[in-house]
Homo-oligomer: 238 residues x 2
């Protein structure tokens, strides 16, 4: 793995929604084997992905905290991802495998894609899929996501109200992710569409403090970033 002129492998490691037991056997095996572990820790703050796997880290690994701004301004983020990619590339060139810890799944609303884009051309990359907060939310709420002929639409609450409404109206079942401070907007839209009855608010699925509420009971203030509103089917038919 640190063998002469052989280059390291970059792993995009899905570590699941929060419960350390929702890691896959594969992710665990990679994690215990790689010499370098990287994760996003904006502004020197804590990393949720790292906290999920904390119990599995042996202590002998190099850790890289990637300081990437959460801000929507693309300029500084671009610079930060460039810098992070360069740091990771250094280890790969020296023959060390690097695992980037990704909450949920690396390619499902994650930031790993920005590293993947910069490194996949030159380096060998392996993406290890993970359990998403979406299926964890459905499991917790006891709400099947989709079956048979149904279309499932996953959309971020950050969309403007009109787009949100049009897309929710056009699909059978939906999951609104990244609810956070957009909760009242989501509730208004679902109310207008007559979907409120079959919607559930799921907070922190797969993490400590997870809970499921009717949409009306979710309060009026902003919700945590890790909250999802599921809009289920009317009835199971079979």
């Amino acid at each position: 793995m640190t063998d002469g002129n052989q280059r390291g492998i970059l792993y995009g490691l899905g570590v699941g929604p929060g419960d350390p037991e929702l890691l896959t056997v594969k992710a665990l095996r990679v994690l215990e084997r790689v010499p370098v572990v990287a994760y996003v820790a904006s502004g020197g703050g804590p990393s949720l992905a790292r906290s999920i796997v904390a119990g599995y880290l042996g202590g002998g690994q190099v850790e890289i905290a990637l300081d990437v701004p959460i801000a929507t301004d693309p300029g500084p983020a671009r610079d930060a991802y460039g810098k992070s990619a360069a740091e990771i590339a250094g280890h790969l060139r020296d023959g060390r495998d690097v695992a980037v810890l990704c909450q949920g799944d690396p390619f499902f609303y994650g930031s790993f894609m920005y590293l993947f884009e910069r490194l996949a051309g030159e380096h060998r990359v392996e993406v290890v899929p993970g359990v998403t907060s979406l299926t964890a939310a459905a499991a917790l709420a006891g709400m099947p996501l989709a079956s048979r002929q149904e279309t499932l639409c996953v959309l971020p609450a950050t969309l403007c109200e009109e787009t949100l409404e049009a897309r929710l109206a056009a699909n059978d079942v939906a999951a609104v992710v990244k609810v956070g401070r957009h909760l009242s907007k989501v509730r208004r839209v679902l109310g207008r569409l007559g979907y409120a009855e079959r919607a559930r608010y799921v907070e922190r699925a797969g993490m400590d403090g997870e809970r499921v509420l009717a949409l009306d009971d979710a309060g009026d203030g902003p919700a945590p970033y890790f909250s999802i509103v599921l809009v289920g089917v009317e009835a199971v038919e079979r």
Copy 2:
């Protein structure tokens, strides 16, 4: 677990897309502990879900093969699910935990919901989310599913051509599941929408023989049931 008047727990156990290493630690722990394991095996045929976990089964468990017709005719399926639910309920009432093995995730285009619907009222049910073939396909293809403001639409290829086209046109990124014998229809629709360039055909993601092809290279015959067409974003921006 088999304790006097205490009832058993029903587990909907997501076992991931196919690679036994894509089971979660939690699913593995439940699997090694339950006295009864159930799975769909239509017409006495093999069960994919069982084959995924075969290496983890100790041999001391009761196994229930649920004979549920794949046919679209709802009558016989309803009877079969009723019979299966009754058999499972018998074990639960006798205090034995039962794990129903679900390929992928139990609530993502799975048949577990039909058992859940029949048993959740009377019995304690715990759904263990799993890695879906959707994120496994994205990982294999090296194609991020969605990020930031993007809407992800998951739709079954079994939809009629007009609906398929309208829904694909209305969303940013999409995954067409259950491609099977509908491959040429999917290809026609994507061609008309001008999406063929950014589409990839992924066959048997997370299973033996998995492969990724350009849509044009996927052949003209029917595809396996476990194939997905991913329609990616135009470009990563950040």
